[in-house]
């Protein structure tokens, strides 16, 4: 359902992605692991059009992002892509001037044109699912990081995305809050949600991922089912990454 071909991204002279190919099928949970600076975040941001790229193409259904597009065409295609993908950020990025409920209904009402009552109904369901129904009227600053991230997941789900993108959703959280958030994500995966998850939480990857892709210096160096990647890594980069994580 997502096809990425030959993705090249440069910041000035620095080539951050050097021709990445990837395809993700319906219901798949693809975990991306790799050392810091290897281009994982940049890759996710290219998928939904937050970044433009210099080579290759990204297709999700009829939303096609192509390196050859003009800025205007790219912006249009990016909007289409964003309708099909939800994104969860490391820093949550909840709208600080809105309450929890307002955050979740904002895009359904103002982007999809959904009626307010219907949007609230759906928001309540989603907030219940992430265990945040009791804080409907709280402002983001009144919530813990784990709570904010769960609201952010509900906000992304409210658009009914075909794919959910997670960029290190638990890196800013302590272990207890990390567990809350990973629990929600595990439930999502179990319900058949297609997900691309950039993470350092190897336990989660091993348990939930259908496939793991290892990033190294702007390329996917190795891909495979979690058990194979974690128990019998084929690539040096994977081995050193795993030993680092174990040491940490």
């Amino acid at each position: 359902m997502i096809e990425v071909e030959g993705l090249v991204k440069r910041f000035g002279a620095v080539e951050v992605l050097r021709g990445v190919d990837l395809s993700v099928g319906r219901g798949e949970v693809a975990c991306l692991i790799g050392p810091s600076g290897s281009g994982k975040s940049t890759f996710l941001r290219c998928l939904n059009g937050l970044e433009r790229f210099q080579g290759g193409r990204v297709a999700i259904g009829d939303a096609v992002l192509d390196a050859g597009q003009s800025p205007r065409e790219h912006a249009k295609a990016a909007r289409r892509a964003c309708r099909r993908m939800g994104m969860v950020f490391q820093g949550f990025n909840l709208f600080v001037h809105q309450t929890v409920l307002q955050n979740v209904i904002e895009a359904p009402v103002h982007v999809l044109g959904m009626g307010r009552d219907e949007a609230v109904e759906r928001a309540r369901g989603l907030l219940d699912r992430v265990g945040m129904l009791h804080r409907l009227d709280a402002r983001p600053r009144e919530l813990s990081g784990g709570q904010q991230q769960r609201v952010a997941i509900a906000r992304a789900l409210a658009m009914g995305p075909e794919v959910m993108l997670f960029d290190e959703p638990t890196s800013a959280l302590d272990p207890k809050m990390t567990a809350e958030v990973l629990g929600v994500m595990t439930d999502l995966a179990r319900d058949g949600q297609t997900m691309i998850v950039v993470t350092h939480a190897m336990g989660f990857a091993r348990k939930v991922a259908t496939i793991v892709h290892v990033f190294g210096e702007g390329l996917i160096v190795e891909s495979g089912p979690p058990d194979r990647i974690f128990d019998a890594p084929a690539h040096d980069a994977t081995r050193s990454l795993l030993s680092e994580v174990q040491a940490a």
Partner: protein
């Protein structure tokens, strides 16, 4: 205004008559305002760093009458504040088309006149009106005749006293401003002191004198009450210059001699008699008496502020957004707008709107303030927009919003919260800046204060009342600013995790 309070508080110390000081110093300092222009005292076209004018020449001659080696020294001051500065002792006398008036004569010593002036009505060439009396009949279209005058001048008083309900008096800060506005067609007539009308007649070819001069008054030299010897010496000096024909020679040089001036040598044997002390109101009674005028002026201040500030905020926001998110070529253009507006004085901007674009005073005043403040608001908004974390925009885009939707729904609402305190501060500053609008004839609080304090001499009382009104208007805004700042602090401008 504060100056008025201070000057009044620092009463001049008791001392000997200034005449001795002048002679010892070898210089007679006189207060005057070059801005008033010709033919009184104005920058010398042949030597722009010095002053010319018939008063300058008269003072040069008079100084010599005080003793060998005494020179006259010009001291620049603001015209309607010259007497206050005289009180402070910065100069010895005031000479600048100051007419003899009973109210001034109560507080200052006046010499005999050095000029007998009349008022001249001027209108656009070909005006059907032939004399001041014609203005007492209604204008054909039923609206009042508009008469431009110099604020607080004899013409101002005359036009008010002689108003038969068919004229509206419009006050200007400068004599030539009033002439220009009439030549522009913005107003029907201007009433001017004869010398100014004569001197500037050539520079305003679109104007002509209408009918014979009206009224009559005397330009005199004012000295402090504590300096009778100085006044007497100057008075005698004027007498000698008038008798010798020297005065006539100076007045002829400036083209303002006429038959009336013969009286300078024949009709006066000394200072004009001071009137019996009138039992006029003084002090706080005056403030009550003129309370309605202060209230009206305060309403003008409020109207200008509340008319201009919302506009300034809207324009400022649009400029800031254009500079940060607009299409490429727009950004430097808006940057240039901000620099141009911030880099030029508000008064000049008002002049352009009023005298060049010929806008209505209210439109010019509100537009000028709004444009001027929009540049400052734009910079405040820019800082506010930059203070919104990047992640907010990315989250909005990732949810499928367009850029403009993200700005409208997410970025601007947060930026507005951030800028409330600095914008409220600017609003308070704007209240006080409205005083510049007197150049476009709007009489707001500061101008009204100046007019009333000058004409009644109740300086301290009016200054106190005016300050109180300003405070009453700006305190609620200060409270709002502080309250919103506290609230914002509690809400945490950044929220979440950046």
């Amino acid at each position: 205004m504060l100056a008025g309070l201070l000057l009044a508080a620092l009463a001049p110390p008791a001392r000997a008559d200034a005449l001795d000081e002048v002679r010892a110093r070898g210089a007679l300092r006189y207060g005057s305002d070059m801005e008033g222009g010709g033919p009184y005292a104005f920058p010398d076209p042949d030597s722009p760093r010095s002053v010319a004018g018939f008063e300058v020449e008269i003072m040069d001659r008079l100084a010599r009458e005080l003793g060998a080696g005494v020179r006259a020294e010009f001291a620049q001051g603001q015209w309607d504040k010259l007497l206050w500065v005289l009180d402070s002792g910065r100069y010895d006398v005031v000479v600048n088309g100051y007419e003899w008036s009973p109210i001034r004569a109560e507080d200052y010593l006046a010499t005999r006149p050095y000029y007998i002036y009349q008022l001249q009505l001027m209108g656009p060439k070909g005006t059907p009106a032939r004399a001041w009396g014609d203005l007492k009949r209604p204008k054909p279209d039923g609206s009042p005749w508009t008469v431009a005058v110099l604020t607080a001048s004899a013409a101002d008083d005359f036009a008010h006293d002689e108003n038969a309900g068919t004229t509206r008096v419009v006050r200007f800060d400068g004599a030539t401003d009033a002439m220009m506005a009439v030549q522009n067609g913005q107003y029907d007539f201007t009433l001017q002191d004869g010398p100014a009308a004569t001197y500037y007649g050539d520079e305003f070819p679109g104007l002509e004198a209408v009918g014979p001069p009206v009224s009559r008054g005397y330009y005199v030299v004012y000295a402090r009450k504590s300096d009778p010897a100085l006044r007497d010496a100057l008075d005698a000096g004027i007498g000698r210059l008038a008798a010798s024909g020297e005065l006539r020679r100076i007045l002829e040089k400036y083209g303002i001699w006429n038959d009336l001036q013969v009286g300078l040598a024949t009709a006066f044997q000394g200072p004009i008699d001071a009137p019996p002390v009138r039992q006029a109101d003084r002090g706080w009674k005056l403030v009550r008496h003129y309370g309605d005028r202060l209230r009206d002026a305060a309403l003008v201040t409020l109207g200008l502020s509340f008319g201009a500030m919302p506009l300034a905020m809207a324009i400022g926001l649009a400029v800031a957004l254009g500079r940060m998110y607009g299409p490429g070529p727009l950004r430097p253009a808006l940057g240039a707008y901000v620099e141009l507006i911030r880099g030029t004085p508000l008064m000049l901007q008002l002049y352009v709107l009023f005298f060049l674009l010929k806008l209505d005073p209210w439109v010019a005043g509100i537009a000028g303030l709004a444009i001027n403040y929009s540049a400052y608001e734009a910079e405040i908004y820019r800082a506010g927009l930059q203070a919104v974390p990047r992640g907010q925009m990315e989250a909005a885009l990732a949810l499928g919003m367009s850029r403009s939707q993200a700005l409208r729904r997410v970025i601007v609402p947060q930026a507005v919260r951030i800028v409330i305190p600095p914008v409220s501060n600017d609003f308070i500053a704007l209240f006080k800046d409205t005083s510049v609008c007197s150049v476009v004839t709007l009489i707001e609080l500061t101008k009204e204060y100046s007019i009333l304090a000058n004409s009644t001499r109740a300086v301290v009382e009016f200054a106190t009342a005016t300050a109180a009104i300003y405070l009453a208007m700006s305190l609620p805004l200060s409270w709002f600013a502080r309250w919103s700042e506290r609230r914002l602090g509690a809400e945490g401008a950044k929220g979440g995790l950046a």
